[in-house]
């Protein structure tokens, strides 16, 4: 379906139709578009910069036996328009497929896509063209005035039937006063003078309305207003095309041709027929939009622990192992007896409620040989990655990652919002596993505690075996300070924020260098299992969707590609 205006190649069409009629006894367009247009409203805004904005609103009712209406071509008065200013909607839903029309020149093509108007259905299409230049001409009766003429879009004869409630409303530049505009004569069937009014923006309006207009006919409307309200440079000096305002072009173009030109035009018409046939051949085809696939799946997977989220967020392996270490220390499942090399004393019995990855982690530290321990930690991480993969099935990885990133940010906000060092430190302890997921953890920790110390959490001595000793020694750091509440409670040990952050960072480094050895090799040993190299691509499309690192050598847990299962399966 298309919409045409007065600027289409009318003469070629007429000649071609003439030639076709010579050869075809019937109507070659029997299966073409067929619809009614109960409403067509056009608002034309004449702007104070000399441009115009046009707001079309069409209500289509597609015939039951007609093909779907898939796109709408709308004519634009001049070629100098801004395609980026065009927006379109169907039934209030914004349409994205907007391009210059290949069939209406100048014009825009709006693809309705999945909202195509199916046979027997109706649809309201709105097309707003925000900026059209070269639309004003000098008024030939008053040099102080400019002439603004607008011709409505119209449809192929035969495609539209029934009457149309058509309304055209001009909105003059904001400074134009009600008594200033002058209307031009309008065509038959229309009121001899428009109805004046004021719109929501206080602009003077002229409105023409005909409830028995035709959708396949072009109507012209015109008015003049003082030229002082628009830049003089915006006024076109030449005569406007089709400037016979009010004329619908009902004159036979052949009538004014000299006889010598007719054979040439017949030949030209034949060429035009071929060209038209080629265009029609293309036009009968469906509009091709890029293939789009949407998968049914759920959004956010909630309930992951910080360690599990770290897998999803592709955190480095040594950092994740450190997080597990803190996790077991906080749960009083172990105590660090030596930080370099890292040795743990594992509680017996173990407290309840340990995650499997925590249990496996502790089991790994029962191994005395570093190679055995490394192997056990590798198994721990493989199991963790696979477990997260299972849990993620049916959920969106992308949305879940965003969700946990927001949790990290909220964790920082809670810490930062605390007003006293004690409360801040308490919040920091409670949110530590989440704040650790921040790649700028060290810097932010220093930043948050730059004005005061960190009151170390109660489990800190289990992490830093030297801490308790230094508490009782003569050293000035760390110190014991009574909380500011002034109540008679045990003093809380504290560390400078920078030192606290550095201690965490040291913990991570210890893991990478002393426990798992070369972190890149360690990571590869995991990703090679959880995320084996993909098979070679089978197609010639030149794109690869494998998206996997294939046991790549990066130090982060890009094994997560192996837990990015989302959506597929799980449901039925």
């Amino acid at each position: 379906m298309s919409i045409r205006n007065s600027y289409t190649l009318k003469s070629i069409t007429l000649l071609s139709l003439l030639c076709i009629l010579l050869f075809l006894p019937g109507n070659a367009f029997a299966q073409s578009y067929s619809f009614s247009l109960p409403e067509q409203f056009v608002d034309v805004y004449w702007n104070d910069d000399g441009t115009s904005s046009i707001d079309y609103l069409y209500v289509f009712v597609n015939d039951v036996s007609a093909p779907p209406i898939e796109f709408v071509d709308v004519g634009v008065p001049t070629r100098d328009y801004d395609l980026n200013s065009v927006v379109a909607y169907i039934n209030g839903i914004e349409l994205r497929d907007i391009e210059r029309s290949p069939y209406v020149d100048p014009g825009v093509a709006v693809g309705l896509g999945e909202h195509s108007i199916l046979p027997g259905e109706s649809g309201e299409v709105r097309v707003f063209i925000g900026r059209v230049r070269d639309v004003l001409y000098p008024d030939d009766q008053d040099s102080e005035y400019v002439s603004a003429v607008f011709g409505t879009s119209y449809f192929e004869p035969g495609s539209v039937h029934g009457s149309t409630d058509m309304r055209v409303r001009f909105h003059f530049p904001p400074s134009v006063q009600p008594e200033e505009p002058r209307w031009h004569a309008s065509g038959s069937g229309w009121p001899s003078e428009p109805e004046a009014g004021i719109d929501d923006e206080g602009r003077v309006t002229y409105e023409w309305r005909n409830q028995n207009a035709r959708g396949d006919t072009q109507y012209f409307f015109g008015a003049s207003f003082p030229a002082k309200y628009v830049p003089s440079g915006s006024i076109v000096k030449e005569s406007p095309p089709g400037a016979g305002a009010g004329s619908t072009g009902g004159v036979n173009p052949l009538a004014c041709l000299s006889p010598g030109l007719i054979p040439f035009l017949c030949f030209g018409g034949f060429i035009a027929l071929i060209a038209w046939g080629a265009v029609a051949g293309q036009r009968r085809k469906l509009q091709y939009l890029p293939p789009k696939i949407a998968i049914e799946g759920h959004g956010i997977k909630r309930g992951l622990t910080a360690v599990e989220a770290a897998i999803l967020l592709e955190q480095p392996m040594d950092k994740i192992l450190t997080m597990i270490l803190f996790s077991v220390l906080k749960k009083n499942a172990a105590q660090v007896v030596n930080r370099d090399p890292l040795e743990l004393e594992i509680s017996d019995p173990l407290p309840e409620g340990l995650h499997l990855y925590e249990q496996n982690f502790l089991e790994a530290f029962r191994e005395k040989q570093s190679a055995d321990r490394r192997k056990a930690l590798q198994k721990t991480m493989v199991a963790l990655v696979r477990s997260v993969g299972e849990k993620m099935k049916g959920f969106s990885r992308k949305e879940t990652v965003e969700y946990y990133r927001s949790i990290i940010e909220r964790a920082w906000q809670q810490v930062e919002a605390a007003e006293t060092p004690e409360v801040k430190s308490k919040a920091f302890d409670e949110n530590m596993e989440w704040t650790m997921l921040d790649k700028d953890y060290d810097d932010r920790t220093r930043e948050v505690f730059h004005q005061g110390p960190v009151f170390v959490p109660v489990w800190w001595p289990r992490y830093d075996p030297t801490f308790s000793r230094t508490l009782s020694g003569p050293s000035t750091q760390p110190t014991m300070t009574a909380p500011s509440t002034g109540r008679s409670t045990p003093a809380m040990p504290q560390l400078p924020g920078a030192e606290f952050a550095a201690s965490i960072a040291t913990g991570v480094q210890n893991f990478s260098s002393k426990v798992v050895g070369n972190i890149t090799d360690f990571t590869s040993s995991i990703t090679n299992i959880t995320n084996p190299p993909p098979k070679p691509p089978v197609s010639t499309s030149g794109r690869s969707y494998s998206g996997r690192s294939g046991g790549g050598s990066c130090a982060c847990a890009c094994a997560c590609a192996g837990c990015a299962c989302a959506c597929a399966g799980g449901g039925r």
Partner: protein, 387 residues
Amino acid sequence: MTSIQESIKRWFSPVHPLPPGIYHFQAPAHDPRNYRLHLRLEKGGTGVLIVNASTVLHLNQTAAEHAYHLVHGKSEEEAARAISARYRISFEKAKQDYADFLERIDTLVTTPDLDPVTDLEFSRQRPYTGPILAPYRLDCALTYRLPLNTTPESAPLQRVKTELTTSEWKLIFDKAWEHGIPHLIFTGGEPTLRDDLIELILHAEKIGQVTGLMTDGHRFVDGSYFSELLQTGLDHLLLLPSMDIPSTWNVLEMVSRADIYTTVHITISQENKEKVPEYLRRIADLGLKSLSLSASGYGLNRELLAAREQGANLGLTLVWDLPVPYSSQNPFELEFTDRERPSGAGKAWLYIEPDGDVLPDQSINQVLGNFLHDPWDKIWRPDDPTN
């Protein structure tokens, strides 16, 4: 003259989207990927492509056209020729897009642990949203009869007294296929008590439907019956075994060795909650890969989540939305504390009782009509708020 006119008409008449219909593709026996595709073309030429009866893809009109050629096994050249003849697109571009489409589907089938949104450039659609032509699945309660020693409460409400005949069920399957329903699950009661079960599965498979069987497995003690069942082409099993019966584990072991996708369902109750961890360990030890969980009451959320956690650690994939007892009490539901999750009952699936009456779901006692006797328009009202 008429034929010339018709030719010219055809030349000038607009191309229409592919008409609604359902198409089936089964990977050839030698293909190790062993996958099935069902393409359902919807009104207006859009499509729904269902991969292995579980992954639902919604396609725009162009993608549906590519999928149409995929399920018909067309080469890149054949597909590109057909598409460029129907769309304003060059042969080369159509060929490139078709190859691209094939690769994405292939990757989805062969690498299920990739994120389709991040890695395959799919968009995500909330389940059971958007207009669809027909449900994806029909749960067919063939009978409400139960084995002799089974307690009656373990079956759905025995609301109906009659059972459809073999030919009536076949007629239902045919109608379901015509309406574009690609997946049947045979349930009950105990569906293996129907002597015609094998005949019914054969019929559905012959049409092209994916078939699943939900059973307690008691008849599988007879190994020859199980073998015969496998020969029908049955696609998946959902076992609801009585874990305390020793023979159950023999059945599970036999099933685990068979080449059929099997899900084991456990209903956690106050009585068995202590034994569930052991059940899960044994299920994983047998090499079974898929798990369904529900709880017989609201006070068992902790046990449900623990079982879900243990299942994930054991590598058991959780499935849900199956016609199992207390299906609404499952770990997956607990993800949606605000009840934001859309329900597929009455839309993604329908449930047919032994007499042909249709319910939105086995747990929703609201008769939408009778599949045999009522028009489809009466039964299928996915947007009816009372549905």
